[in-house]
Each structure stands twice: as structure tokens, then as C-alpha cells.
């Protein structure tokens, strides 16, 4: 029972799936027998990535190597962004959600994708043209470094912390499910491996771990989809018709009269209970959309390509691969309905998935390619978590070493050797912290953490970036305090909302009735930045405004751009 609760919260946490009650992933889970095929496959992945880390370590000598990896192409960076963004939970959670309720899983997937065009249109090229290692380089470009970089670093650490805890807890629980190993093993393995990748290989190793993982995930999912489509004669209409027939039969067997059973079967083709209240839905949608444009580990990836041109290509490729991935998960969910619903090997007499309600795609892998393929897909799921946490760790380490240590404490004149040492020490501390947090939060309800991370990124980083890039009247005070107000309002509203106030603190009624704060906290941040800037009469505000024309010119033309390979 406890383990069941843990798994439920872990996957909901990874998904940040909090909009509708029906989206809650529930169901009994049994720890699986130790899966040696999966462990061997994963061992292979680890061996390859460690070998790459070894190669990367020999070429990681300067701070620029560590933060940017010496430069990759837009295509490679697009794959790495997809690897950074597609989580194990989307793969397992969305397919299982579709297996259970049909269409609703797609609504969530679309929310995750629509942030990318916003990043592309509003900030990508300016970010690449002005920045060097972190998004704070850009946010603080014409401002007093101390306040704006301190805000950016705090914001980065908060976003990373919530995202990381959710990933660690989810990893521990997935490992029980997929490999049949204890929670603690998984936490230590994930924390230890991500430390090794980042510590020795920096951005170069992180990029390649993400690229390899993206390729494995996309290839595995494609193969599964081909298996499904071959089963239904490569016709989507046939796939949907058979899924509806299966769901109707399930409903009939549960004792419903034929008319209701048919309606229930048919219901998987349209939206269900995921979106009940439009304000929550829009707010959650905007948190996903604008949060993507404010995630520090995603923004950091822009500095791995040489110029704005490649930065734009990165996003196009990332969008292609992420969109393709979500389309695959949709087909896999319907494929699972058709192929495993009546197989006693995968589903028990009551109609529940064996091994827990998130196993749909795993059973589908077994049904399509046997034990070996099941092992491969399990290994992919674990590799996926590793790639995500490595990116998170690197961005947090950079916030400490580049933004705080080098830029705030040493005013931009830090010894590069010492800066590199600080980033590595930070990486070790972060790895240890991640393992401890994974243990501390093992039995806590962390369901709100990913959506909170997105809401914080949307309400803090995104408004500060947009205003500093596009509004000449923005001042140091406005950016630092306005951003802080955005962060704080997102945090407070989330605490007062049903996802924490009711689900974690067990109060009867939430103070703030909507499941995501973004619709309110993002405008609050923009308003605060504006109001504080226009009333700012400090001597510094004149310098901030005077710096705008030059910043604007450089952001538009790329003059003075710092290329990752230029040393």
C-alpha cells in the first residue's frame, strides 16, 4: 500500500499532472522480479556514456569547455534539447493515461510542445547573441550585476531543486518497477552517475548523454509504433475502431448495459475529465508554455551552438523530435488498448494492468518484441531520467560558479581555474544533495513539484528575460524585484492551491481555487517589473536605460557574440 502510494505520487510528480482529478495515476504496484535483461541493457548505456565522459574529460580544460562543451551543431543541439525535455514519465505516464482514459493524454502533450515556438519567436536569437554561459548573462546584460544575477541564481536553484526532487523520487520508484531493485539503489545510481557525467565531462558529456538518450527513446518508440501499426494493417481508423471496440467490451464485461457500454467505449475518442475548469486549464497551459521559455537548463543549451542561426535550427529540430515523440506516445496508448487489454499475461481478471497502472507501454513492448525489447525499453526509461538530471545539475552548478562566484563575488574577474574548481565542487555537492533529497522525499507527496518548477520559471525567469531584452525602460531594480515578486507569487499561490493546501496539508478547502498560478503570477511579474522600473529614480536607472541601444543592436545583429568554440 505504501509502495503503491509512493509510485502514484512519483509518476504524478514527474508528470506534474495536477489539472484534473481523473488524470491522477493510481493503481496497485508490485515490485517486479529482478530484470537482468533490462539491467544489462542499461549497463551497456552506462558503459557507452562513461566512455564518452572519459573522452570529454580530456577536452574539458577551460570554464568555456565546462559550460558549453566546445560547440555542437543546431541539429545535435535540437536532439539534445529533446533528450533534456522528454521525460520517462511522459513516455510511461501519457501512454498509460491514454490506455486508461483515451484522448486526454494528448492535451497534456500538446501543452508541453507549444512553449517551443514562444522560445523561438521571442528570445532564442537574442539570447544566443548576448549570452555566453547562462541565461543570467542575458538577463543582467545592461544591469548592475549583483542584484539581477543573484535573482537569476536563486530562481535557477529553486526551479532545479523542485524539478530534480521529482525526477529523483520518480527514478527510485521506476527502478523498483522496471528493474526490480530497491529504491535506494536507484537514487544512489542516478545521483552518482549524473555527478560523474557533469563533474568530468561538463556540457560536452551532458550533451552526448542527452543525444544518445533521445535517439534511443525515439528509435524504441518508433519500433513499438511500427509493431502496433502492423497489427492493425497500418490504418489509424482501424486502430481507433478496434480500441473503441475493446473499451466497449471491457465496459460490457463490467456489467454495464449495451447502450452505456458503447458510449463508454466511444468516450476515449474525445476529451474527458482532464479539463474541468477552464481557468485552471488555461493557467496550467500557460505555465507549461511560458515555463519552457524560462527553464534554466533548457536556456543554457542555447550557448552550445555558435550563433543565432544555429540556435533557431536547434529549436526547430527540438520541436520536430518532441512533437514526433508525443505523436508516438498517442499511438502507443491506443495500441496498448488494442493489444494488451485481454491478454491475461498483462492484465488481471479485474482488468487492471499487472505490475501497476503505468506499465501499459512496458507490456506493449513485451507483446511487440518479447523480453529483450522489454529490457531495452526499461533501460531507455532509466537513461531518460539520467539525461534530464545531468542537464539540471549542470545548470545549477553554472548558476553558482558563473553567476554567483565569478560574476557577483569576483565582479567578473575570477581566476578561470578557480571558477572551474568551484563549478566542480558545486557539482559534487549537488549530487550529494540530490541523493539526500531523493531519500528525504521518498514518502512525501511531491506531485506538485514539476508543475511548480514550470510555474516558477514562467513567473520569474521568463518575464525578466522578456522585459530586459525588449523594453528599454527596464531597470536593475525592476528586473531583480519584479522577478522576485513573480517567483514569490507563483510559490505562494501554489502553496494555497489544491495541489498543496489540500493534497499535502489536508485542508478541506483551497484558498486559491485553481491548480496553477501562472495565469495570475506571470502578469503580476510583468506588472511589478514595469511599476518598479518606471518609479525607479536611482542614478543606476539612468545607466540601465542608457545601455539599451547597444544591447538591442548586439541582440539583433550578433556583433560581439561569444562562440563556444572561440578559444
Amino acid at each position: 500500500m505504501i509502495r503503491r502510494l509512493m509510485l502514484t505520487t512519483g509518476l504524478t510528480a514527474l508528470l506534474g499532472w495536477t489539472t484534473g482529478a481523473s488524470a491522477e495515476i493510481t493503481g496497485a504496484i508490485t515490485q517486479q522480479p529482478t530484470n537482468w535483461t533490462a539491467i544489462a541493457m542499461f549497463g551497456g548505456f552506462v558503459a557507452i556514456t562513461l566512455w564518452i565522459t572519459g573522452m570529454a574529460a580530456r577536452r574539458t580544460r577551460t570554464v568555456s569547455d565546462f559550460y558549453t562543451g566546445g560547440g555542437i551543431t543546431g541539429f545535435q543541439n535540437g536532439l539534445a534539447m529533446a533528450g533534456d525535455y522528454c521525460s520517462a514519465a511522459s513516455f510511461l505516464g501519457i501512454t498509460s493515461q491514454i490506455f486508461n482514459d483515451g484522448y486526454d493524454g494528448l492535451i497534456y502533450a500538446i501543452g508541453f510542445l507549444v512553449g517551443w515556438p514562444i522560445v523561438l519567436f521571442l528570445i532564442a536569437e537574442k539570447l544566443r547573441n548576448l549570452g555566453r554561459f547562462t541565461f543570467a548573462d542575458v538577463a543582467s546584460y545592461r544591469f548592475l550585476q549583483g542584484p539581477v544575477r543573484s535573482f537569476s541564481a536563486v530562481s535557477t536553484l529553486l526551479v532545479v531543486a523542485f524539478y530534480l526532487i521529482a525526477q529523483m523520487v520518480g527514478a527510485g520508484q521506476l527502478i523498483q518497477l522496471l528493474f526490480g531493485l530497491p529504491y535506494l539503489y536507484a537514487i544512489v545510481a542516478v545521483g552518482g552517475l549524473m555527478m560523474v557525467y557533469v563533474l568530468f565531462g561538463g556540457m560536452r558529456a551532458t550533451s552526448w548523454v542527452q543525444i544518445i538518450k533521445a535517439v534511443m527513446l525515439l528509435c524504441g518508440a518508433t519500433f513499438l509504433v511500427l509493431g502496433v501499426m502492423a497489427h492493425v494493417g497500418f490504418s489509424f481508423e482501424a486502430l481507433f475502431a478496434r480500441a473503441v471496440a475493446v473499451k466497449t467490451r471491457v465496459a460490457l464485461e463490467s456489467g454495464l448495459p449495451p447502450g452505456e457500454a458503447a458510449a463508454k467505449g466511444r468516450a476515449i475518442m474525445g476529451p474527458g475529465g482532464f479539463i474541468k475548469d477552464p481557468i485552471s486549464a488555461l493557467s496550467f497551459g500557460f505555465a507549461l508554455m511560458l515555463g519552457t521559455a524560462g527553464l534554466p537548463h533548457i536556456l543554457m543549451r542555447f550557448f552550445t551552438v555558435p550563433d543565432a542561426r544555429e540556435a533557431r535550427k536547434s529549436i526547430l529540430w527540438a520541436t520536430v523530435w518532441i512533437g514526433y515523440f508525443y505523436a508516438l506516445t498517442f499511438i502507443l496508448g491506443f495500441g496498448a488498448i488494442v493489444m494488451i487489454s485481454f491478454n491475461p499475461e498483462y492484465v488481471d481478471a479485474a482488468g487492471a494492468l499487472r505490475g501497476g497502472n503505468n506499465m501499459a507501454v512496458m507490456h506493449l513492448a513485451h507483446a511487440t518484441g518479447g523480453n529483450l525489447f522489454l529490457g531495452f525499453i526499461s533501460a531507455v526509461a532509466f537513461a531518460t531520467i539520467l539525461a534530464v538530471v545531468a542537464g539540471l545539475t549542470l545548470s545549477a552548478a553554472s548558476a553558482i560558479s558563473h553567476d554567483i562566484y565569478a560574476s557577483v563575488i569576483h565582479k567578473g574577474a575570477a581566476d578561470p581555474v578557480k571558477e572551474l574548481r568551484v563549478s566542480r565542487i558545486t557539482t559534487i555537492l549537488l549530487g550529494i544533495a540530490a541523493i539526500l533529497l531523493g531519500i528525504v522525499f521518498q514518502k512525501q507527496n511531491v506531485a506538485f513539484m514539476v508543475s511548480l518548477a514550470f510555474a516558477l520559471a514562467a513567473s520569474g525567469n521568463f518575464p525578466v528575460l522578456v522585459m530586459s531584452l525588449l523594453w528599454k525602460g527596464c531597470t536593475t531594480k525592476g528586473a531583480a524585484w519584479g522577478g522576485a515578486i513573480g517567483l514569490l507569487s507563483a510559490f505562494v499561490l501554489t502553496v494555497l492551491s489544491p495541489v498543496i493546501w489540500v493534497a499535502v496539508f489536508h485542508f478541506d478547502q483551497a484558498v486559491f481555487p485553481y491548480s496553477s498560478p501562472a495565469l495570475f503570477s506571470v502578469p503580476a511579474a510583468f506588472l511589478a517589473i514595469w511599476a518598479i522600473s518606471v518609479t525607479d529614480r536611482s542614478p543606476r536607472s539612468a545607466i540601465d536605460k542608457a545601455g539599451y541601444p547597444e544591447q538591442r543592436l548586439r541582440s539583433e545583429t550578433g556583433i560581439g557574440v561569444h562562440s563556444p568554440a572561440a578559444h
Binding site: Y103, L106, I107, A109, I110, L113, V114, W116, P117, I118, L120, F121, L122, E125, L130, R132, D137, S140, Y141, R142, F143, Q145, F236, E237, F240, A241, R266, A267, M269, G270, P271, G272, I275, D277, P278, A281, L282, G285, M289, R312, K313, I315, L316, T319, V320, G323, Y326, A327, F330, G412, I543, G547, P549, E550, L553, R554, E556, T557, I559, H562
Partner: protein, 108 residues
């Protein structure tokens, strides 16, 4: 290290004053804000349609099993990729070419 307050070079001043640069920035900005507005409006409409008219979304297309919701969902995925492609094509093509020509001429 990035020095926020260092003086703009003579070249930068020449570029900033050039009407072709001003026109380029205006065109690109107008284009990116238009596409942003389209993205936000289309996505909000999609979510609103789901929130307010579920029976419409569940309606079948051409009498088969495939529903309007599935087709619109697929269109959202493809449309998101397509709108990125439209921007990248124009920004990496026309706008970059105009900028490169301008920079080459003014630097000479």
C-alpha cells in the same frame, strides 16, 4: 567577460543609424510577434474548445471512429512544428541575408 557599459564602436553607431537596419529589425519583430500571437490564440482556442464543448470535440469525422478531437490534436502537433519551420526559414533566409549584406557593406 561581458562588459555592459563599454562604448559602442563607430561601426555599431553606423549600423544603428542605417534605415535598412531599422527596417530589418521592425520587419523581424513584427513577424515574430505575429507568429507569437497566432500560437497563443490557437492554443487558447484549443483549450477553450475542450473546456466548453466536449461533445463537439467527440463528434466523429465522416461517420468513422476518428473524432474531431483527434484530428485537431494532430493538427496542433503538426502546426506547432510548421510555425517554427516558417519562422526559421524566413529568419535564417531573408532576414539573415539582409543583415549580412548590410554588415558587409558598412564594415567595408
Amino acid at each position: 567577460m561581458i562588459a555592459p557599459s563599454h562604448p559602442a564602436s563607430a561601426l555599431e553607431a553606423r549600423i544603428a543609424a542605417d534605415p535598412r537596419y531599422v527596417a530589418l529589425v521592425r520587419d523581424r519583430q513584427r513577424f515574430s510577434w505575429t507568429l507569437t500571437a497566432i500560437t497563443v490564440i490557437v492554443y487558447s482556442s484549443f483549450i477553450s474548445l475542450i473546456a466548453f464543448d466536449k461533445p463537439f470535440m467527440a463528434r466523429s469525422i465522416g461517420g468513422g471512429t476518428t473524432s474531431i478531437a483527434v484530428v485537431l490534436g494532430a493538427a496542433m502537433l503538426i502546426g506547432t512544428i510548421a510555425i517554427c519551420a516558417v519562422y526559421v526559414r524566413r529568419a535564417n533566409g531573408e532576414y539573415d541575408a539582409r543583415l549580412a549584406a548590410l554588415l558587409a557593406e558598412l564594415a567595408a
